[in-house]
Structures are given as structure tokens and as C-alpha cells.
Point group: C2
Chain length 207, copies 2
């Protein structure tokens, strides 16, 4: 069981938090709109609490569940309030037509977030390869993650398993760019070869 704080109250936060509660984790919900946070906490039940935006979150793991364009400013705003935390960056960084990424070559959303975070925080990229509306379905799903700190990745892996999902480590934080590149791929797949946004990317192991 982990102690998790969510910054952001949108669809992804809702989907992951619902699984987190079901998996017996302690959940705190934080948003700029306290009423919305309280409403979501009531809906989730199981002792889900709410926190104050900008102050130290309760959770050891903080799921940064805001759009990428807000993520760096939010982390900068938090500043030392995120010291020592494991920050999960779930953002997709693709552009308006989902053919490219917003970040330049040689970096990624996750790496930009890491630059903005306290040096004692650990950023792990995860969940961006799973569509939020798929996360709420009852399906086996793979969650790819990347990060530089082994301990932080171990906590994130335990957390992902507690959600009933399969954690798959792809390496250091520099791999976040290629995880973020899966965003455009999934969008393209949904619009072309799959013809549905109900698809998920998974890993097939040999029989």
C-alpha cells in the first residue's frame, strides 16, 4: 500500500485514483478548486482526503495529473513543497494534430518537469501510454515507466501493481521522450489501423 497525492482532478486523476482506492492505497486529491476536490473525494470514498494546492502533499508519491502545458508551471509553483517526493509525470506532450511533440529533441516533458522540481525529488514517467477512458475499463493493461532513480522506480512499480496493472520498466528518464512518442503513435493507430480509441499497447511475452 502506498500513500498517493494527486495534483489535478481531471479524467486521468479520476481513473488512476479510483484504481488506487480499490487497491487499498491512501489517496489525497489536490486541485485549484477545493470544492471539486471534495466532490471527487466523496465519490471515491474509502477515506480519500483533499489537500491544499501548493502546500506539501501528504503522499510519498505525487501523481502530477495536469496537462503538460501546465505541468512545469505547477511544479515550479510548488517548489520545495515537492522535496523528497516521487513525482509521477503522466503527461502526453504531443502537438495539436498529434503528429509531433511539443518538446524539442534531446529532452521530454518528464525531463523538463525534473528540471523544474527540487533536486531531492525523483521524477518517473508513467501512464502516458494508456488512454484514460481505457484505464476505467476492466482489462489487463501494461504501464510503461522510465526514471533515473532505482528506489523511486521500485515504489512506482509497486503502486502500478496495486492498481491491477502490469508495470514495465523501459530504462532511464531519457527514455521518456520515446514513451511520449507513443502518444502520437497511439493517436495515429486509433485513427487509422485500429479505428477505435479503445486500444491499448501491450507487451507480448513468449509462451
Amino acid at each position: 500500500m502506498s500513500s498517493i497525492s494527486f495534483i489535478g482532478l481531471g479524467g486521468m486523476a479520476h481513473a488512476i485514483a479510483a484504481r488506487a482506492v480499490a487497491g487499498g492505497n491512501s489517496v489525497e486529491l489536490i486541485g485549484r478548486d477545493p470544492a471539486k476536490a471534495k466532490g471527487l473525494a466523496a465519490e471515491l470514498g474509502a477515506g480519500a482526503t483533499t489537500g491544499t494546492f501548493g502546500t506539501v502533499p501528504v503522499g510519498d508519491i505525487v501523481v502530477l495529473a495536469v496537462p503538460y502545458t501546465s505541468a512545469v508551471p505547477v511544479v515550479a509553483r510548488y517548489g520545495d513543497a515537492l522535496a523528497g517526493k516521487v513525482i509521477i509525470d503522466i503527461s502526453n506532450t504531443f502537438n495539436a494534430d498529434a503528429t509531433g511533440l511539443l518538446t524539442p529533441e534531446g529532452t521530454s516533458g518528464a525531463q523538463e518537469i525534473a528540471k523544474a522540481a527540487p533536486t531531492s525529488a525523483y521524477v518517473v514517467k508513467a501512464f502516458n501510454t494508456v488512454f484514460g477512458h481505457v484505464l476505467v475499463q476492466e482489462r489487463p493493461l501494461d504501464v510503461f515507466f522510465a526514471g533515473d532513480d532505482a528506489g523511486a522506480k521500485a515504489s512506482v512499480s509497486v503502486f502500478i501493481e496495486s492498481l491491477g496493472l502490469r508495470p514495465l520498466d523501459v530504462g532511464g528518464l531519457e527514455m521518456a521522450r520515446w514513451l511520449e512518442g507513443v502518444g502520437p503513435l497511439l493517436m495515429g493507430l486509433a485513427r487509422h489501423g485500429a479505428g477505435t480509441f479503445d486500444v491499448a499497447l501491450g507487451v507480448d511475452f513468449p509462451a
Copy 2:
């Protein structure tokens, strides 16, 4: 049934050509070493033929099965001998430690190959997301592809199905960069979360 020429005689050519023969396609093998081509043709049987490097290939579809660092020079060397052909670029373009790509932002191996090819040729990116040694296993596998010409993509899709694999269109050729980004991801996954190079990436559809 399709008529397929392979330029290149390495592991990927071998794996795809073996499936192509089994799927009833007409197969031509082309390499700089005619003896090696003849040996592979004999091994494949089923009327597999050999062609002369640099001259017009027999196949309507040409699988460019050389390392990316050779691919653009080979296509330039062929020049108009590839006019009107559907060229399948199967290359991976990742760097020595498989954390980044050899091509700069805004392009991809496939797009560089398209620039070097005759304007009447159609480049389709495919197969780079499947490890060659996995292709020779008896497993259901997904093959992602990208390209700009609908007709060329339709032929490639039929060809992929003839191999007993599932074709999945991800969009235009600009998506090749993100398919190539799957190369580092798969390498990272094999080295970390999966712990085996016998993994394959697949798409899970809702039940």
C-alpha cells in the same frame, strides 16, 4: 499473393522472406554477394529467385533490408531502378546505446529514404518494431506501418497479412519517427522491465 524483392540478405530479410515464401508470395533475393543470395534462395525453396544488385527488382514491393546507415546510399545507388516500386523501410535508426535516434528532429530514416528514392516510388515504414529473432517464432505478432500513399499502404497491408501477421496502420510517413522511437523503447524494455529480447509490442483491442 504479392511479388516481393529483398535488397539485403541479413537476419531480417531471412525472417521475412521465409514467411513470405510460406505465405505463397513470389520472392526475389538481392545482395551484393550473389553466392550468398543463391544460398538463401536454395534454403527458402518454393521458386525463390535471385536478382542483380543495382538493377530493376522483379517485385512490386521491395523490402529494403539493410542497416539504416546503408539504406540511403543503397537507394541512391539504385536510383531510377526503384521507379514505381513500393519500398518497405524496415530499418531501426537508434544510436549505439539505443537511447536516441540517428536522424535529427523533424525527419526519420523512412523520410530520408523517401528523399533519396525516385519520386514515383512509395516508401512505407514497417517491421522495425519487431525483432528479427521474434519474427521466426510461431507467435501472433503485430506489424505497425506508416506511409503517405493509400495504395502502397494497402499492398503492404495485404503482404503483412500473407505473412500471418496483423498489419496496423498508424498514419502518414511523418509517423515513422515515432515508430523508430519504438526501437529504443523495445531495447530498454528488453534490458529492464521485460528482461528478455523475446518480447513483442502488440495492440490490445477491447473484448
